[in-house]
């Protein structure tokens, strides 16, 4: 309860801060929104040239990609700062200021660094998902329930990824390219899983469950979900737990001299 109250206050502060520089906020949000519109362009161009992803029409693929945008938008808003703020503190040797706070360092960083601008990425994803769903249709109320459940699982995967990235930065000091490693892997979650070979599918479902970020929730909405997909929620939860454990473990490596 105390944490919720604190988070609400921090969120309000983050919004006030963002609105203090309204032009920057609007410009940044517009750019994010535009990037969101351009992201599915590859899919549109592929279909415009008469090609297809076998078994998937254009709107179905766009739905997968819009759900992916929604997940990453939400994660970016709530979690992405963990990586950059942790990295900056370690490089600058100022992580003590976080450790001295009478609250979990992880929660403190997450609550005090909400990226409000990413709201446009999430909103853009929602709009695109609604447009795609209007063309594909939704399998029913039950499908929406499944979608929400799997969407939360996808969020857990992104949470795990951000925490692992932040944890790595305790050892691999000052490498701003760590997020690129995970970005490249999460690309497997942007497309229908059926286009990848079996080994990649197992990896994307069981090892780093990136299929849960876009593919599985969208499949649930379309009524194309294999019931076995619900089992993938377990690796998602485990992945997030591993991220939390690793982050807290890696804090012990902090030396406080900067990098």
């Amino acid at each position: 309860m105390k944490h919720l109250k604190l988070y609400r206050i921090c969120l309000r502060t983050a919004f006030s801060q963002a609105l203090a520089y309204r032009a920057d906020f609007v410009m940044g949000s517009l750019i994010t929104l535009l990037s969101n519109i351009l992201f599915p362009l590859v899919t549109v161009l592929i279909y415009a040239n008469g090609a297809t992803f076998p078994g998937w029409n254009m709107w179905e693929v766009l739905l997968v990609q819009s759900v992916y945008s929604m997940s990453t938008g939400l994660a970016s808003m709530v979690l992405s700062s963990i990586v950059w703020v942790t990295m900056d503190h370690i490089r600058g040797g100022s992580f003590e200021t976080v450790l001295l706070k009478p609250i979990s360092p992880l929660f403190f960083i997450m609550a005090t660094n909400c990226d409000v601008q990413s709201i446009s990425l999430f909103a853009g994803g929602v709009v695109m998902a609604v447009i795609s769903a209007c063309h594909t249709g939704v399998a029913g109320i039950g499908a929406i329930g499944s979608f929400l459940l799997l969407f939360v699982a996808g969020f857990m995967v992104l949470c795990g990824m951000d925490l692992i990235m932040a944890a790595i930065s305790f050892k691999w000091v000052g490498n701003s390219r760590i997020p690129e490693i995970f970005d490249s892997i999460s690309n497997f979650g942007k497309y229908p899983l059926s286009i990848f070979p079996q080994a990649v599918r197992v990896f994307a479902v069981m090892v780093i469950p990136v299929a849960m970020i876009g593919f599985f929730p969208a499949s649930a909405l379309l009524g194309r979900l294999d019931p076995k997909a619900y089992l993938s929620i377990i690796p998602c939860a485990l992945f997030m737990c591993f991220g939390i454990w690793l982050y807290n473990k890696m804090i012990l490596l902090y030396e406080g001299v900067g990098g």
């Binding site: 940044g28 535009l34 990037s35 351009l38 362009l41 161009l45 090609a51 297809t52 992803f53 490693i181």
Partner: protein, 272 residues
């Protein structure tokens, strides 16, 4: 001749220092050895599925498309640039002042820095990925015509630098030019052909792209690398495409010089 020799010495000295400076962050470059091949694998599966049994799409065969993406990734390592970020930071903080007092043009200094930085990129990004593509993925990524490819990539290298330098110069007018830079990067990602070859775009868009700098940094060199016989909507052959790239580069250099003369008058040297 004496002046050229002097410039070469200056360039070598700055490039060497930059190389040594960035060598301290070798693992920073080595991230590409993982990221590049993973992106390539994703592209491989996407395009395998898209092509299915079809022979050609947008005038490109499957093998050519795959080689295009491989070449595109490798060209990216050779031409990568952040002169825009550097220059806008120098202008915003006022540190550019120190360069106005040095007996070397800042643009030449920045270009020399880029040479040093990319030599490092050649050893720690380009070469490992090139070998991974050939020996691990079994893709014949060797350029069809080495001479034309070297020329085209060299011009892409300069084009990328001059475009980025111009973007950096917007800081003389806007102080903080991050919005312009992000906007450019967004369009460059799409229209340089890094995500999808420009052949897939409608004819009108391809024609408009002839007048913009994006395709000269990636699409044309990648097509030259793969030895395409018909580049873009105009169906250019390799020598024609390289000549077009040279014309575009010349215009960009002139524009950069004009913009510099205009921008330097606005420099107040006090930072912001």
């Amino acid at each position: 001749m004496k002046k050229l020799l002097h410039m070469w010495r200056e360039c070598k000295a700055v490039a060497f220092v930059t190389y040594k400076e960035w060598s301290a962050y070798r693992t920073h470059s080595l991230v590409s050895v993982f990221v590049g091949p993973v992106y390539f694998i994703v592209q491989y599966f996407i395009w395998s599925a898209v092509y299915g049994g079809e022979g050609t799409l947008a005038g490109m065969e499957f093998s050519q498309t795959i080689r295009y993406f491989g070449a595109s990734a490798l060209i990216g390592y050779l031409t990568m640039d952040f002169a825009d970020w550097n220059l806008q930071m120098l202008v915003r903080t006022g540190k550019f002042l120190t360069f106005t007092m040095r007996p070397i043009h800042h643009r030449f200094f920045a270009l020399s820095q880029k040479f040093g930085h990319r030599v490092l990129g050649f050893f720690f990004e380009f070469l490992p990925c090139f070998l991974i593509f050939i020996f691990l993925f079994r893709i014949d990524i060797r350029p069809v015509s080495t001479g034309w490819t070297l020329l085209s990539v060299a011009m892409a290298f300069l084009m990328n630098f001059y475009v980025n330098y111009c973007l950096g110069m917007t800081a003389f007018f806007l102080v903080k030019s991050s919005g312009v830079r992000v906007m450019y990067q967004l369009f460059a990602q799409i229209f340089s052909g890094a995500l999808i070859p420009l052949n897939f775009f409608p004819d009108v868009v391809q024609k408009i792209m002839l007048f913009l700098p994006f395709q000269y940094t990636n699409y044309i060199p990648a097509m030259v690398w793969t030895g395409s016989e018909s580049i873009g909507s105009m169906g250019l052959n390799v020598p024609e495409a390289v000549v077009l790239q040279a014309v575009a580069l010349g215009l960009m250099m002139l524009f950069s010089e004009a913009l510099y003369r205009c921008a330097i008058k606005r420099f107040t040297a006090v930072g912001a």
